[in-house]
Symmetry: C2
Subunit: 179 residues, 2 copies
Amino acid sequence: MTDLAAPARPSPGSPSEGASGAAAGRFVDGYLLYLLARASSVASAEFHEQVRARGVPVAVWRILASLKGTGEGLTVGELAKSCLANQPAISKTVDKLVAKGLVERQADGQDRRRVWVRLTPAGEAHVDELILEAQAHQARLVEAIGEGETETLRRALLRLIERAGSGAPSVDFDEFSDK
Amino acid sequence: MTDLAAPARPSPGSPSEGASGAAAGRFVDGYLLYLLARASSVASAEFHEQVRARGVPVAVWRILASLKGTGEGLTVGELAKSCLANQPAISKTVDKLVAKGLVERQADGQDRRRVWVRLTPAGEAHVDELILEAQAHQARLVEAIGEGETETLRRALLRLIERAGSGAPSVDFDEFSDK
DNA sequence: CGTTATTGTATGAAAAGGAATATTTTTAGG
DNA sequence: CCTAAAAATATTCCTTTTCATACAATAACG
């Protein structure tokens, strides 16, 4: 328990209603982007701990996991989008993975600006182990929140991704629209 | 390699099915933690851009937003949990905010290890502006995905947070639950 | 009480991340 | 063709985060 001495307050980091809300709840507790960030954080926390315990930084796990299933690999730019990171960060981490022999670079034949990154056999074996852990962890998570609820969540997330990701600069340009 | 750029592939960073799936989809596209991270990332991207355009780092925004609504403030440790960051990072960012006059520190009366951080009037005014932007952005987001869908998502996220956040070991004790 | 363990915050060195820019290659226009 | 603009990646520099630890205060226990 982490309650402070004087008045009972709703604890930060738990949006649930406490005993006597000091000021009818904080702003963030009703803020959708905060709920999303928090849900992602708490859901990933235990697994990221497992990954780090194996000596694998989360950024590396994301690169390897993103490459799994792509036979030819991904370009650096594609990897950046997939890993939710920016391009220089990917270039640097790929350097380290190349040094470890887990991935390899290859210049594109048609467009020599592009660089493909793909798993080596060693990298494939490595990521396969991690994916087994990830799937086991996900199975426990699904079991905890229920299959139906999981599907509901998954559909809502996919919908949010496609609506928020590409769309909606329109509102800012209302004055310019076909007037 | 000759045909590197040749075949049409589903683009990374969009879980939707592309033209001709190279290998029946990547691992990450079905991975729940990835969907969560991606949804949070794309949903927050535009607003974080607005905040940075005002010269406010996201880490600062999170601290100020977390403090809004807490009259007495939060301790450094509480702030760390609320901001999904670790404690040293909060201490250092609070240093800067104190220097800017947006927050103030105050040692706890009973337990002098604890340090309360609370908004100054200037900080309150500052965060109020940002919150107005956040609410406007959220309104557009809700409009884009629909009110009903938003409520579905909100409930699913809250449920995930309470299940995954504190109580993961419950699944290990299934043998003890009466049914 | 004195001693040890524990908790909460701050600090310092090392690593990671991000913004801006350089470099190379491709595309577009005259 | 030749030059200008755009695109993809690498590199540089600076900020931020992270890990470990130090420090201070409380709690626990003999």
